[in-house]
Symmetry: C2
Subunit: 157 residues, 2 copies
C-alpha cells in the first residue's frame, strides 16, 4: 500500500463515527450498527455497548468479529466507489473497573458527547477489538488485504 492509499485509509477510519459490527448468532451471521473509536495506531478498536444489545451477547459467546467501516454516502452518482474497510479480529470485554476505562471514557465522550448517559447505566461496557487483518477497498478494483501490522502502519503518524 503506497503512502497516499495509507493516508486515505487513515482518514476513513478517523473520520467515520459509525461501523457495522458482525458477530455470530446461533452460528449464523449477525450485523448491527455501532459507534467506535480507534486507538490512534489502529492496534485496537473500541466499542461501548450494552449487554442488552445482541452483538454484545454474541461477543460474550464467541469473540470473533468483523467491523465494517464505510465512507458516509454523500449522494455521489456511484456509491460503489465509496471507500470501505473491514477489520476482522477478536473482541474482549474491558471490566468497568479497569484502569483504562477513565481514559477511554474521556476519548469516547470527546467523540460522542451525547453518550454520557450510557456511562450511568450498569449494562454498558467497553469492548476492545484486536485486529487480525483488514481488507481495504479504496475504490472499484482497488483492494488491499492488510495484516494487523500493515493496518497499524497506516495508523502510525
Amino acid at each position: 500500500m503506497d503512502s497516499e492509499t495509507s493516508k486515505r485509509l487513515s482518514e476513513l477510519i478517523h473520520k467515520e463515527r459509525v461501523a457495522h459490527l458482525g458477530t455470530l448468532r446461533g452460528e449464523a451471521p449477525m450485523v448491527g450498527m455501532t459507534l467506535f473509536i480507534p486507538m490512534s495506531d489502529f492496534s485496537l478498536f473500541y466499542v461501548h455497548v450494552s449487554r442488552l444489545a445482541w452483538h454484545t451477547q454474541d461477543m460474550e459467546k464467541d469473540p470473533r468479529v468483523a467491523l465494517s467501516i464505510a465512507e458516509t454516502d454523500d449522494g455521489r452518482p456511484d456509491p460503489f466507489t465509496l471507500m470501505r474497510v473491514t477489520i476482522r479480529g477478536t473482541a474482549e470485554r474491558i471490566p468497568n473497573d479497569d484502569r483504562l476505562v477513565p481514559d477511554l471514557k474521556v476519548a469516547w465522550l470527546s467523540r460522542f458527547p451525547e453518550q454520557a448517559i450510557n456511562f450511568t447505566l450498569a449494562d454498558f461496557s467497553f469492548w476492545k477489538i484486536a485486529p487480525r487483518d483488514a481488507r481495504f477497498i479504496a475504490g472499484f478494483g482497488k483492494i488491499h488485504n492488510l495484516s494487523a501490522k500493515e493496518l497499524a502502519a497506516a495508523g502510525a503518524p
Copy 2:
C-alpha cells in the same frame, strides 16, 4: 409496530443505498459494504455482486446472511440515535439468464445508473436475499423484532 414506526422503517429501507452484508467466512463473521435494492414489499432484497468479492464467495458456500442498513450519518450530535435495521435471511444466486434479470437490471440501473459497466462483466450476478426476520432499532431503546411477514407489512403500501 404502529403505523408511524412502520412508515419510518419503510422510508429507511427505500432511502438508503448502502448496506453492510454479513456472511460466514471460515465459519467466522465477515462484513462488507454492498449496494442493494428491496422488492417493493420487502419480501426480497437484491444485491448485484462480483464473484471476486469475498461476500459472494462466502454466500456460495453458506447462504446465511445478515443485511444491515443504517440511516446515513448526518453529523447529528448523537449518532447512536440513527435508525437501523438488520435483515437476516438466506441468499440465492439468480442465474444471469433468468427471466427476472432484465427487469432487475432496469430497477438496478434506475437506482445506480453508473453501474452499467458491471453488467458487461461476466463475474457479476444478482443474488436475492429472502428475509427470515428483521430487527429494527428506531432510536435509543426503540427495538422492534419483526418476522418476515411483519417486515413485509411495513413494505406494503
